[in-house]
């Protein structure tokens, strides 16, 4: 592994990106990309693309009473995708030397030719002009350059604060940093480089009494939160300052009442709403899923390929955008993983479906343009349709205004359990915490809160969304594909008011 600034780090890169073997830009990566693209073309591919990537992750996570988990994980490899006689083939491998670029191309060609035996349909990929460009995350403080003692202070402080309340039996706190160089080349002449830095953190408290347990977390229950930013993001989370509340609430939940089941008005906080968007909006709008490519595992969608401009997905307050051009999240980039330049795309406009999360292959099958949503899990996996930055557009006013508008009901946030069917229609989510709302004010804390519904009915019950000041984004991983790969993306929302939602579980 290389921890040093390479001799050939190119001048356009910020300090946080000057690391590793591939910091030299296309001057370094270009020959490897050319080898793979050239081998694919020489082997009969009518189209080929290559992704060459180097990545590193630094973690310091600790559980109360245990030895901390401090580790740095690195990888360097490439994936080659080819189209031979209208049939795709893909191969990936770690990079040991230049020969691996050609070997991966050879494996991809072999897979395509073998697949032709079983395929009755052929792919027609509309040609496109070459796209070239450079993208890099803005990081004020390189998280890899932060000293051990600084990380230790944050983690130890959060751990101690989370465990301080009697009744907390286990606390966990951690910080992480990720960085990667990603290069793309295709037989169409595209040559792209993107350099990413991410930083994140989390704290979790588990309280127990007898056989009962409850958990509370911050800033999100789903692996904490990670942003495309430097260490300044972690400092801004104020983990030690928030951890005391997290521990205290976990203990309070042990004896908190359970809400009566039935139908109620609810305001969903941004962390839970991010997951709601992910499961019932993002996944439902993946075009490969809609076209049946994922029918065996991730599933289908209740939304059909003819839904654009026709399907009333939600109320007029539902405006959902996919916008990877928004900086600072795990879904921020310039080019997706098949080289399509990203753009702002309205997916739902005033409740009506207006576009899909699509790739070149899936878009071509419905005669549309890709919305730059082909994303892959590093160099090792095929690009699939994943969300990017998929946000519920904010409305107006504050969260307090929203609670006041609701009057009586519940405010809930931070996911505890989540389940949705394979058509993204019938869902049920549980939250870590909920508060009863009376006369527009939060009152008592409630445990084991859950709500459920049918996607278009649920979004049809959206009455109002709070304004931009209360908008938050959350980076999260997502699983899809066979073999299962992770997509890294983000969802954002301000708290939103839904009327007449089913609460409680069977």
């Amino acid at each position: 592994m290389s921890e040093q600034v390479p001799h050939a780090a190119h001048e356009d890169l910020g300090p946080a990106h000057r690391w590793g073997d591939l910091a030299g830009g296309l001057a370094t990566a270009g020959p490897l990309l050319d080898d793979a693209v050239g081998a694919a073309a020489a082997g009969g591919a009518s189209y080929a693309d290559v992704r060459l990537s180097e990545a590193q992750e630094l973690r310091l996570y600790a559980v109360s009473g245990g030895a901390p988990d401090e580790r740095i994980e690195g990888s360097l490899g490439l994936g080659v995708r080819v189209l031979v006689d209208g049939v795709w083939g893909f191969a990936s491998r770690p990079m040991r030397d230049a020969a691996d670029a050609v070997a991966a191309a050879r494996d991809a060609l072999r897979n395509a030719r073998a697949a032709a035996v079983g395929s009755r349909e052929r792919v027609t990929l509309p040609p496109r002009a070459a796209e070239c460009g450079l993208y890099q995350t803005t990081a004020a403080v390189d998280p890899f350059a932060v000293g051990d003692a600084v990380r230790e202070r944050v983690v130890a402080g959060a751990l101690a604060a989370a465990a301080a309340t009697a009744g907390v039996v286990q606390a966990q706190a951690g910080v992480n940093a990720k960085r990667s160089h990603r290069y793309f080349a295709s037989t169409e002449g595209s040559r792209q480089e993107q350099h990413f830095v991410e930083s994140g953190g989390m704290v979790l408290a588990i309280a127990a009494e007898g056989s009962a347990t409850q958990r509370r977390s911050y800033p999100n229950s789903f692996f904490g939160n990670t942003a495309a930013a430097g260490w300044e993001y972690v400092e801004g989370l104020q983990l030690p300052e928030q951890a005391g509340r997290v521990g205290a609430e976990a203990v309070q939940l042990l004896t908190a009442p359970v809400a009566d089941s039935g139908t109620a008005d609810i305001v969903i906080g941004p962390a839970q709403l991010a997951l709601q968007i992910h499961e019932s909006t993002g996944h439902a709008l993946e075009l490969d899923r809609i076209l049946g490519d994922e029918a065996n595992f991730a599933g289908r969608s209740f939304i059909g390929p003819d839904a654009v401009g026709r399907l009333q997905y939600g109320s007029a307050a539902v405006n959902v955008v996919a916008d990877a051009t928004v900086p600072g999240t795990r879904g921020s980039f310039m080019f997706d993983d098949e080289g399509t330049r990203t753009l702002r795309t309205m997916l739902v406009t005033e409740g009506v479906i207006t576009n899909f999360l699509s790739s070149r292959d899936s878009a071509a099958r419905i005669g549309a343009e890709s919305t730059a949503s082909a994303r892959s899990d590093g160099w090792g996996f095929l690009p699939l349709c994943f969300a990017t930055n998929v946000f519920l557009e904010p409305g107006t006013g504050s969260t307090d205004d929203l609670l006041d508008r609701m009057g009586s009901g519940y405010y809930l946030d931070d996911n505890r359990s989540w389940s949705i069917d394979d058509q993204r229609l019938n869902f049920q989510f549980g939250t870590e915490a909920a508060w009863e709302v009376r006369k527009g004010k939060r009152t008592r804390l409630l445990r084991n809160f859950s709500y459920g519904g049918i996607t278009p009915q649920f979004w049809g019950s959206l009455e109002a969304v709070a304004g931009p000041a209360d908008f938050r984004t959350f980076g999260m991983p997502c699983g899809k594909g066979e073999p299962k790969e992770w997509g890294f993306l983000s969802h954002g929302a301000a708290p939103a008011l839904f009327r007449g939602v089913r609460i409680g579980v069977a």
């Binding site: 009473g65 030895a67 901390p68 049939v87 035996v117 395929s119 347990t213 084991n448």
Partner: protein
Amino acid sequence: MPETALQAWAGQDQALTALENALAAADADHAEVFVAARTGNHTRFAGERVHQPQTIIECQVMARAVAGTGSARVAVSSLAGARDAVAAASDMARRRDGAGGGRPHGVAGPGGISGAAGLWHDTTLAWDAGARSALAGRIMDAARSAGVSAAGVLTAAITELAVVTSAGQRCYAAATEAGFSLTARAGEASSYTADLGRDVSVLSVEERAETAVSQAAATGNPVPVPDGVHDVVFGGLATAELIGFLPEFGFTGSAVAAGIGLAATRPGAVLAPAGITVADDATAGAGLPFPFDFEGTPKQRVELIAAGHVGGAFSDLASAMATGGHSTGHAHIARESSPAPEAANLIMTPGTASEADLIAGVERGLYIQRLWYNRLVDAEAGTVVGTSRDGCFLIEDGKLSAGLRTGRFTESVLGALARTDGIGSRLISLPVPNVWNGCASAPAIRVRGFRFGSRPGKV
């Protein structure tokens, strides 16, 4: 060996030599280094095309060093980087010496590993891209002829793990893996089949695919799952999904150390009928056996439910140190997660009944082939939320009748096991996501009283 045959990425001699050389760079009290590699060939198909034929080679070399009270890990993606990884881990561990946190655990000592059953099968190696693609084509052709659409995946892989420690452990194993899954759909009617193992020749892939296609074709418009409490026969895949939650109910060494969960709070308690035994058993012939873990500790059989009673917990070196016991060989380290003991080859002991026998014992109820998006709601009660999915049917007069649409449930796995009165004889295996070489295997079971529906209520 034909060009298309699977080949191990690391290889025994290369792996062990590289790891031993790397360990020489350790400047620490203890050190361990492993390489985990996997070469996976996947033929994925849907509708009318093999849309994702893939060869994915993954390799991770991870070093761990302990210096005083400090410990750290460094990982790279090639054996060539192993020595630098060991040196870097040593440096990080020394820097951590004296910092906060608990005392780190040591490394595994030598020996103790006996071979797991049937790791390597040439039949799986020979199931190459051409053979898999041709089979995918036959399945899609047969489906089309029957008015059915088919989507699935056919996989052949080699998994390798080598571990070397400063205390003298030195081990390597490689295993083949074959798996398949298929969803056949006619309108909203569907069927599903899947299985996983080391040897493709015992999976009967084509025969089971034909059965799934025929079943989907023969199923009329499915009906909603009736809200209410039903007698339910869960197929092996659905049962495997359910028992996959057991570790979360407190069968890990770390849960025991924290005083949380069944093994800590209710040891020996009766949970289920005496016919139910669920063990993590990586030495068994079923599922994906493997002889040792990432720390080089031999894997032991651990019974989570022993003849209906709460059994023991599985552990790694860290949790074993915390509980004063010994590691059962369940060390695991997942991406973006802290190391924690993990079940890797869960197996429910089969009974003697055929699936048809179990169904025949239900006058009116449900047959549930596949569950989907199951998530833990309440570890104390064992409550899980999820849905049924493909290949589910009403049972009427002891026979399958109408197909079922998706149905939601929020039920206790522990409660379901307690109400089980029939256990099938045939194990079916499915992969456990996010667990290296993870697998759960189970037979069909018959549960007297399992509620489906979204009727509001309380946990």
